[in-house]
Point group: C2
Chain length 213, copies 2
């Protein structure tokens, strides 16, 4: 039951944002009484914390699978964006900003994950690319890995890219193409030009990682 509650909450938060989902909504979604939920969790924040942990676990699993699948760091970065596209297709764009503004504790969990894992992952991508001669050797890995992670977050900022005017995935795709070009070496450019317009393959990693629970 505990797992079912987390799964239902994750789906509801993902689709409707966090603020607008109540304990009643979760109970209704599962066809159980609100009392049953309160037997396991004291409030929505307690559920949210576990939802975030579960989502982080899934994302880590996906990133590891991408790293295995990709033949080089450029491909890995492109796969990661396709993957994001699939995952975010049905995400409510207010989700991240709901989190930041109204649920600071849960946001903190996500920040820690960002710092410990995503930035580290990005740094490794840049170092590997330099080593393979695909990225310029004179880039500042520390500065640009932080920039890349902040860019991904920026695309979700409704005060800069309001959903009415911008499609988040179009913004992310522009960011990725621009970011890669900014770091490619000549050899990297030659390779990038051969793959940049290839249609994105369906990766199906998300489902595998979710069913892994």
């Amino acid at each position: 039951m505990k797992e079912r509650i987390i799964k239902s909450a994750l789906n509801l938060f993902w689709r409707y944002g966090i603020r607008s989902v109540t304990m009643d909504d979760i109970a209704r979604d599962l066809g159980i009484s609100k009392r049953t939920i309160y037997q396991h969790y004291s409030d929505k924040e307690a559920i949210l914390a576990l939802v975030i942990q579960e989502e982080i676990r899934t994302q880590k699993c996906e990133m590891e699978k991408l790293e295995e699948l990709a033949e080089n760091p450029i491909e890995e970065a492109m796969y990661a964006t396709v993957q994001m596209q699939e995952t975010l297709a049905d995400m409510n764009p207010t989700l991240l900003y709901d989190l930041k503004k109204y649920y600071p504790n849960a946001w903190e969990l996500f920040q820690t994950y960002k710092h410990e894992y995503i930035i580290k992952n990005m740094r490794e991508n840049l170092l590997k690319g330099i080593e393979m001669g695909l990225y310029r050797p004179d880039i500042d890995v520390e500065v640009l890995s932080l920039l890349r992670v902040e860019q991904i977050v920026l695309a979700f900022d409704p005060t800069v890219y309001p959903a009415k005017k911008f499609n988040i995935m179009h913004v992310q795709t522009q960011f990725l193409g621009h970011f890669l070009r900014g770091i490619l070496s000549e050899k990297g450019f030659e390779y990038y030009n051969t793959i940049k317009d290839k249609p994105a393959t369906e990766l199906n990693i998300h489902e595998k990682c979710q069913n892994n629970t």
Copy 2:
């Protein structure tokens, strides 16, 4: 006297941040009594609003002069970064974040300026570059001009690039080089490679624009 107060406050805020400067400090700096200041301004926030307006006026003047001096948009972007370097050399890195966190009205003034002027300026730079064949014709001007402005602000964010670990101008220079490479066409790259390592000239625009008051 009103102008002298604004000039003194600008210098003090610039060097020490806003929070730590008191009305007493401004009076002491000018060798006048606090009462004289209060004859002209009701409080620090009133002075701050005028300081921001004055700084915006100077920055606009500088950007116009740069546009005249530069032979093309690449040069203009590089001049702008040199100019920023000269202006920021003695700026207290907490200034922007003091503003955002503790002086929301003054911050709003700055935001309006950013939206109405800097983003427009960036957009024009990109359009001009495309027209001259120096930038790729397939970039999304709207998405990337916003990205560039947010990057400039990001370099000042102490939660991402703490001053203890990063030099702001080094971060800005990495950002500029990376941003330009991300948008250059082949022709643009050829030109960029001939000028990127030239030592930056002293522009001296700042002083001219300040003395224009």
